[in-house]
Symmetry: C2
Subunit: 216 residues, 2 copies
């Protein structure tokens, strides 16, 4: 999984609420195990990098309990207490809970809307699995870009001439798989267009923000 894709997965999962690294990995494997995989050795450095970049913030352990809202801004003695408690709670090693910053949300939208030329099926799958965060017209565009890529790959693919039966069966099956992927995209497009024509004017938060944010 290349860097942008890992970032996309992390930011996407955190879009549903704060999580710590271990849980992010668990969810990726449980929910998207067939299309995404990530080792701790790449996940934790990625989280640290995203935090450095300002895309992620670390949640104070106390804030896991929303029944204790921060009334007004913290300052002076109160802030010192809180920092001390954070250290005491986490020690040097404990859960480190990340949340999306506004910049992180923008970065996520950028990654989601920026289609790479080297997208493979898994990359596309991960992207599409977050499609609810895309504007409707961006969904259609994403499907069409992916479809064009697959069609081009097929045309550049093997003519399957003068191959022995074993190699020929492999090439044939690979071509079949791509064609099924294309058919799947066509179904998605039909469903998407139908859904959009039914309820066109409703704009969600994600949809409005998607229109105001430029790709990274």
């Amino acid at each position: 999984m290349i860097k942008h894709v890992l970032d996309l997965a992390i930011l996407g999962l955190l879009g549903d609420g704060p999580l710590h690294g271990y849980e992010i990995r668990r969810r990726l494997r449980a929910q998207l195990g067939l299309i995404a995989n990530v080792s701790f050795g790449s996940l934790y450095p990625a989280l640290a990098r995203l935090e450095r970049n300002g895309d992620l913030g670390v949640v104070d352990a106390d804030e896991e309990f929303p029944s204790l809202p921060a009334t007004g801004s913290l300052s002076g003695e109160r802030a010192a207490q809180r920092a001390k408690r954070l250290v005491a709670t986490r020690g040097r090693r404990s859960k480190k809970i990340y949340e999306l910053t506004d910049q992180g949300r923008a970065t996520f939208q950028g990654l989601l809307n920026t289609a790479s030329a080297t997208d493979d099926q898994r990359t596309f799958g991960l992207r599409w699995s977050f499609a609810r965060h895309l504007a409707p017209q961006a969904r259609i565009a994403l499907l069409e870009r992916r479809r064009a890529q697959l069609v081009q790959g097929l045309s550049e693919g093997a003519p399957a001439s003068d191959l022995d039966p074993y190699a020929a069966s492999v090439v044939e099956h690979a071509a079949d798989s791509v064609q099924r992927d294309i058919a799947w995209l066509d179904e998605l497009m039909i469903a998407e267009r139908a859904a959009q024509s039914q309820e066109p004017p409703i704009l969600t938060h994600d949809e409005t923000s998607a229109q105001t944010i430029s790709p990274a």
Copy 2:
């Protein structure tokens, strides 16, 4: 494409006759473009490594013309002339034609028969496309190993619960693809068993050598 797989592709293509690097890449893209890809930056170092290891030998340009067989062994003056001609023909940069050594053939058989736990569909496809070099029972075994891997991956895969429609469709399509791959393997197994029961006692060169060679 991991190292073993690249080696497998190179050695497999050279099994049909001597080739130079540029041509190896051309054929890989033309014949197996959907399942294999390789850049010069990895191909040439791989060729050099295989040559160092003794799996490949460099063919004298003269030997491209089989109408000039080497009658007897070369020695002394004759050998010197030939070496000079080789340098003159290739200069410092020209076609460098590789051929399989006996050791290279053994290495190929080892790679072909040694299934890795991290095999993906492309790796398996490349392996299977060289299945004609495998002993019949090794073909069946390869198919069954791959099938078991896919079944296990499916069982570990997502329960697809509480996902939004977009993510759910991705997971569902991925599972469908794996199931189609399994069905394909089943077809291959049926065809393979049928072919083997029709003509069991015929042993080709590859089949006999496959039984005497141990994996690398």
